[in-house]
Symmetry: D2
Subunit: 279 residues, 4 copies
Amino acid sequence: MSKENLIGKEIKCLDHGFVRLVDVMGDDGSIVQAARVSYGAGTKTVNEDRGLIRYLMRHKHTTPFEMVEFKFHIKLPIFIARQWIRHRTANVNEYSGRYSIMKDDFYLPDLDQIRPQSENNKQGRSDETFSSEKANAIREKLGKVQKELYTEYESLLGEELARELARINLPLSNYTEWYWKIDLHNLFHFLRLRIDSHAQYEIRVYGEALAGIVKEIVPHAWQAFEDYSLNSANFSKPELNAMKKLLEGQKVEDLDLDEIGLSKREFREFQLKLEQINQ
Amino acid sequence: MSKENLIGKEIKCLDHGFVRLVDVMGDDGSIVQAARVSYGAGTKTVNEDRGLIRYLMRHKHTTPFEMVEFKFHIKLPIFIARQWIRHRTANVNEYSGRYSIMKDDFYLPDLDQIRPQSENNKQGRSDETFSSEKANAIREKLGKVQKELYTEYESLLGEELARELARINLPLSNYTEWYWKIDLHNLFHFLRLRIDSHAQYEIRVYGEALAGIVKEIVPHAWQAFEDYSLNSANFSKPELNAMKKLLEGQKVEDLDLDEIGLSKREFREFQLKLEQINQ
Amino acid sequence: MSKENLIGKEIKCLDHGFVRLVDVMGDDGSIVQAARVSYGAGTKTVNEDRGLIRYLMRHKHTTPFEMVEFKFHIKLPIFIARQWIRHRTANVNEYSGRYSIMKDDFYLPDLDQIRPQSENNKQGRSDETFSSEKANAIREKLGKVQKELYTEYESLLGEELARELARINLPLSNYTEWYWKIDLHNLFHFLRLRIDSHAQYEIRVYGEALAGIVKEIVPHAWQAFEDYSLNSANFSKPELNAMKKLLEGQKVEDLDLDEIGLSKREFREFQLKLEQINQ
Amino acid sequence: MSKENLIGKEIKCLDHGFVRLVDVMGDDGSIVQAARVSYGAGTKTVNEDRGLIRYLMRHKHTTPFEMVEFKFHIKLPIFIARQWIRHRTANVNEYSGRYSIMKDDFYLPDLDQIRPQSENNKQGRSDETFSSEKANAIREKLGKVQKELYTEYESLLGEELARELARINLPLSNYTEWYWKIDLHNLFHFLRLRIDSHAQYEIRVYGEALAGIVKEIVPHAWQAFEDYSLNSANFSKPELNAMKKLLEGQKVEDLDLDEIGLSKREFREFQLKLEQINQ
């Protein structure tokens, strides 16, 4: 899709959220243009441009990717906004609950996302699901509380309480909005962390929406990002030791973890990477 | 108070929060030491050091102030944390509601802070107060909701709902904690904005607590900050035009706003600055 | 001049340098658009937009100004590049002397800029000039050395010495080039410091060239910047004390510096500000 | 070596340069302390601390590493300073050639570092050396020019030319000095790039000196950095495809590059990684 068609288009995220491309400066050609100042050479063919972009990505020459800039309008639940804002290398203008009245929009998870605590991942939900009755009951509870809290908020506003105080009992599931501007290098960094399987599901939804836009605007850079970063795997020194043994024909189950220097936990992580290879 | 006595000492803020100095690198001497590399000169007397610090502050030579670093442990309500985190030039490690159980601590404003919306300041509370009955009623309401929300949170955890979901209806008044590390230049910038009368009262309380610590660690830099920044006043070009007239003997009430280039709103702001002068 | 006419146009700076606008994202409207997300309000008239921009600038609400982004191609002497790069909140791709051959372009000051050390400003040149014979002699000397150094550089390259070593004796007057991308808020900060009379003349020339472009792209923001920042004056607490006395009718020469808290040096600075007012 | 013994100790770099640890805030324990705020857990045994540090490094949980801060005094040639300063997330105070007289110290490479341009690495020197006569001749030439340039500089100063102008023909080999303050996470990033074999030899020397200090101050973090970052290898998606074939028993020379998706250039890079594994 062309830049013109992408700008202004709302991409729905979760139940009430969205990502909307407001503006973008540059494209694949801008990366090449900036890199060629550092290399002091003229314009080249499309094929050479693509090759240069891939070279830059592969060798982590990151500054030319900073020369493309995206601006988005985003509506998102506050608990996601709190994770998001930790990416400091971006510009943000957020809707203000001191200045304006917060809207009656709250995030209520879909039934299949209402899941138990994961047992092996201390910071995430399980792949298992609850019974549909239980999920339903939880969902109703969450929704009921949200309604009550907004009614309470309105009643406090009705009593003339200052907005900056009336909002303090609004929940983290309340939606907020912001303008968010970031360069491509830092956006790639954001996406690497936020479309990863360890990220909270709700921010991953936004990550995927952003990725869909980026892919259209800078297709060569995106492809390079996928090949050399997103779908790459990093092997630690101990893992490289293990890999050496495997390439010499040893079997995974025969590896001497102490000799190689892998803890049991790291060994499990190593096995996951091997599975990724064998997919 | 000496650095040794300050480190580890909890300074209470609001009802359940605190600021605690964890560590500090440098003092007034470090500012001078760094500045003298740029000026290429040797050590001097205490008096010359003080003079240099004041000179640097006055002329906005900010980099030497970046050479002092503070680390704090802070407990604060989430709605304040959301304002705080907008200062990007700092390092943060926050308590995670995905990984850990949020604590049963909520901010409940003191009665005299429960106030109506300000009429001339769209983003703040009034200087007026409610009747003590009304303030009491609002406070009880707020407290009751907080109790109910924590009970709900515990019940969702009891049903094994993933922590990252169970917390989404916790309110912005819930307390969080973080380690926050920042250099003196950026801390001054934070303080200038956050102990200002336009800042929300609750963050001002933290600003004052931080200021109390900074003052002890770098007394000369603090004094310079007060004289040249915090208690200084900036006059716009139109305000300087007005000042010229006043210095020539004209009376404030006779100023020709159109000629001077001041809007009515700006003129009121100008009058406030004159009052500040005459205090 | 329209954005379309500005993009690509080379603005000459010094003898061989230039500033060229490569791309820009946003205009005055983008500042307002971003601010209105934080304020949660709809579109307004041109006049209200202008008023809002001025309000934001006056009250140092800086984030909406970060929503406009400029990209420049700049050719500049290395000693200027070294001052310039201290502004960290920008993206840069510089021509590489390791990868490419440095060009035979050196900065040779105009005769009227070849001046003695200033006596009261330790880091600048005097307002006085040399005799034209002396200035001429110095200029010839500088030019001769530059020629010899480039010949030497070429001879080392001719002997196959690695480029990254052959260039180490090239002088700071050699020109380099870069792509430089920065948002409007940080660009204003750069300009405030770099078109100031204390900045080195050679970087001021670039500052003025950048300012000329900014003025065309965001005329309302520029005007606000001039009125509230560039042409404003900051008065320290002691200076406000002095101002109070003057407004009460006391004469400058009768001020009691000790009582007011002004050092002699600060008093001279205060007098300069009064002169600025009376211009 | 203890922190107390490290602070103030000058580590010589190149012919006239040095790295000197001025101050440090924190140690391995500070990383753990900050991480445990996010995890809401108390202090643990040394062994658990080490394990946590390794876990954080492995999973790129970078913020706790930002909680350790280093301050260095460094003397280095200007062409190295120009590469160094590109790392923006640091605080810097540099000796000023506008304010002070530049010193008579220039970098003259050792004979074995005077080498021809590399043929396969466009931005570096070859592993080959020149004949000792040729290297000697080049070295003498470089040294002679440096002497002449400093004599010229002194003569211009003698004629009262402003320092900010007299220095413009000083070469990039001239030494400068600065205070440099950076957190551990960003220092690791700096070291990863600057002790890499693709970095210019002269900056690698400084990288190694810094590494030697870091290793002593945060031994566990350093070990984790070596294992999971410095000595790790990243395999792109196409390289993982190749790896799969190799693990299935195929020989490197039989790989079908088109099928796998590796260009010839990438294939050579892949072979280098395999060699690294087999070391």
